[in-house]
């Protein structure tokens, strides 16, 4: 399973050791299991991302845990310390236990 993820680091190339903002959009329906399908009138089964692990070169930055109350196609925002250039890896896990990854390379100015 792959889900489109759009990532933006603000500023684009942070200075070494500075605190930068990481924002990312996940294209996912995030169905909470309480909303009815307007066509059939049946409940749409729950399908949402529960955990997001974010790490830089294998070192953990943060872990986000979601309940069913997060919007569809959510934009998450958090801060991180740009200690070194490298790859930022994000591991998404949904409520069925399936997981998928997204990574991008972080450049420093």
């Amino acid at each position: 399973m792959s889900v489109p993820v759009i990532v933006r680091v603000i500023p684009n190339k942070p200075k070494k050791g500075d605190v930068a903002k990481l924002m990312f959009l996940v294209k996912h329906p995030m169905d909470p299991g309480t909303i009815k399908d307007p066509k059939t009138g049946k409940l749409i089964p729950a399908n949402y991302i529960t955990t997001i692990d974010i790490s830089l070169n294998g070192k953990k930055i943060a872990t986000i845990h979601n309940g069913p109350g997060v919007s569809s196609n959510p934009i998450f925002g958090l801060d991180f310390k740009a200690e070194e250039a490298g790859t930022v890896k994000m591991v998404f896990t949904d409520n069925h236990g399936k997981s998928f990854e997204h990574d991008f390379s972080l450049e420093l100015s």
Partner: protein
């Protein structure tokens, strides 16, 4: 039938009434009446239950702290997408996690982030669903186990929980 002169007289009368209304304290229009946040026992019970489950503490243990800033709209047009962010002005080593609660949702514990020293600064932004007008609570869990937070009432015109 009214003639022109009488119409003018009526007009002046109406204007006079409007001008006198503030002195006489007569409510003309109730536009801009402040939304009164209700903290009824039922919704408090829900959030108490959720806080007990997550931290094992009650709402009275959460200190309101100006260092914690919750930003959420005063009036949200669409309950399906309410952008909320929490910021805590504490050293990152002292903070364990940031939590977002909404009193009136079926599950009040919406989302939380576990922070590490590599996080640099305690900041978390997430768009949430809101069933109805309710208190939004941004709560930070510190390393020593104490809770600090910021509460804000958000009015929702169209609910977004099904």
């Amino acid at each position: 039938m009214l003639d022109r002169r009488e119409l003018f007289k009526l007009g002046t009368g109406a204007w006079l009434g409007l001008a006198l209304a503030p002195i006489l304290e007569v409510p003309i229009l109730s536009i801009g009446a402040p939304a009164t946040p209700q903290e009824d026992a039922k919704s408090l019970e829900k959030i108490e239950k959720s806080l007990q489950k997550v931290f094992g503490k009650s709402l009275k243990d959460v200190k309101q702290d100006p260092k914690v800033k919750l930003s959420s709209p005063t009036i949200a047009e669409n309950g399906l997408h309410v952008p909320v962010s929490v910021e805590a002005d504490y050293p990152i080593e002292d903070i364990k996690s940031l939590h977002i609660f909404v009193d009136e949702n079926p599950d009040p514990h919406i989302s939380y982030i576990e922070l590490t020293p590599l996080s640099g600064k305690a900041f978390f932004q997430v768009p949430i669903r809101m069933a109805q007008s309710s208190y939004v609570r941004g709560i930070a869990l510190l390393k020593d186990g104490s809770l600090v937070g910021d509460f804000k009432f958000t009015k929702v015109t169209v609910g977004g929980c099904g």
